[in-house]
Symmetry: C2
Subunit: 158 residues, 2 copies
DNA sequence: TGGATATACTTGAGCAGTCAAGGAGGTGGC
DNA sequence: GCCACCTCCTTGACTGCTCAAGTATATCCA
């Protein structure tokens, strides 16, 4: 069933998908260990802060943050809470719409993020280097993953 | 943030890593939706059953299962519980070591897994096809991910 | 033989996310 | 102006994992 006539080994999509899951698990563990040990945050925290930093004004609506992170709104609420508690993020009201509560990076948050970025870059570089991933491999991988991660919004699945 | 080093776009390892995380999230959601809807199991459940099926005798020690799945022992205990409850897996004692409790696929479990496998293959194929991933892309991706997955899942599926 | 140590597994507490429900605020038809 | 409906966000209950601690069994070695 998996056999497929053609050039080279048959590229089993299921096998590839499961490898992707495995690879991500390993990667996340590595990030969590380094970021947690050095800065007391998880990879999710870091990603959240990174998105805020890249947004104009260093602030975003929770809804947009959810969309950007691939989480639900409640996931964002819960993820933001500890970051507010430790002062990396603050809550800001919107002038024209009392429903929205912006999440905004504090100056402290920006500073701490800069340090985290340094760590994160190193972890990523180390990880790929350790697996003997050449720059070309990386480029190809990045391109493929971009396509695979692109579809975020709700797609019906039967 | 984006530096250029000679040939092509610079392959930022951190960016690639974050894309990998994103791609996996999307993939897992898709598998969970299909496997859950059609067979009432999650991707984790499916992966667990698949590993059992590939093991000699259709059974494995919990510790080895944990290693194979990239989980802790307690994660395996908890993941196995519902599968035992619905009769897809049973607990088997080991003859020469009273500490070990094998997890063994039941005949029902094997049958149900065959159906799940059909669904899972289709989901994987659809997912990569939808992202315009050519067979060559898939082969390359698989090769790269195998290296990144540390302890390679190794075995072929079928 | 028996005590120290190592291994296999389970359990309690906790964390990060989900969904479903609900409150508060905005918007449009009449 | 009013009321139905929509959006933004939070909360409660749950899942699925983690770690730390505990139990039971095995093994090593004096």
């Amino acid at each position: 069933m998996t056999e497929h006539t053609g050039t080279g080994p048959s590229p089993d999509p299921l096998d590839t998908a499961l490898r992707l899951v495995r690879a991500q698990t390993a990667l996340v563990k590595r990030f969590d260990a380094s970021l947690g040990g050095l800065h007391g945050v998880s990879l999710s925290d870091f990603t959240l802060l990174l998105h805020l930093a890249q947004a104009p004004g260093g602030r975003m609506r929770r809804v947009d943050l959810a969309e950007a992170l691939g989480l639900t709104a409640s996931g964002v609420t819960r993820g933001l809470a500890p970051l507010e508690r430790i002062g990396l993020v603050t809550r800001e009201a919107a002038a024209r719409d009392a429903r929205v509560a912006y999440a905004a990076l504090t100056p402290t948050g920006r500073d701490r993020l800069a340090e985290m970025l340094h760590t994160a870059r190193q972890v990523a570089a180390d990880h790929f280097a350790a697996e003997q991933c050449s720059p070309e491999d990386l480029t190809r991988l990045s391109a493929l993953l971009t396509r695979l991660g692109a579809t975020a919004p709700g797609q019906r699945i039967g």
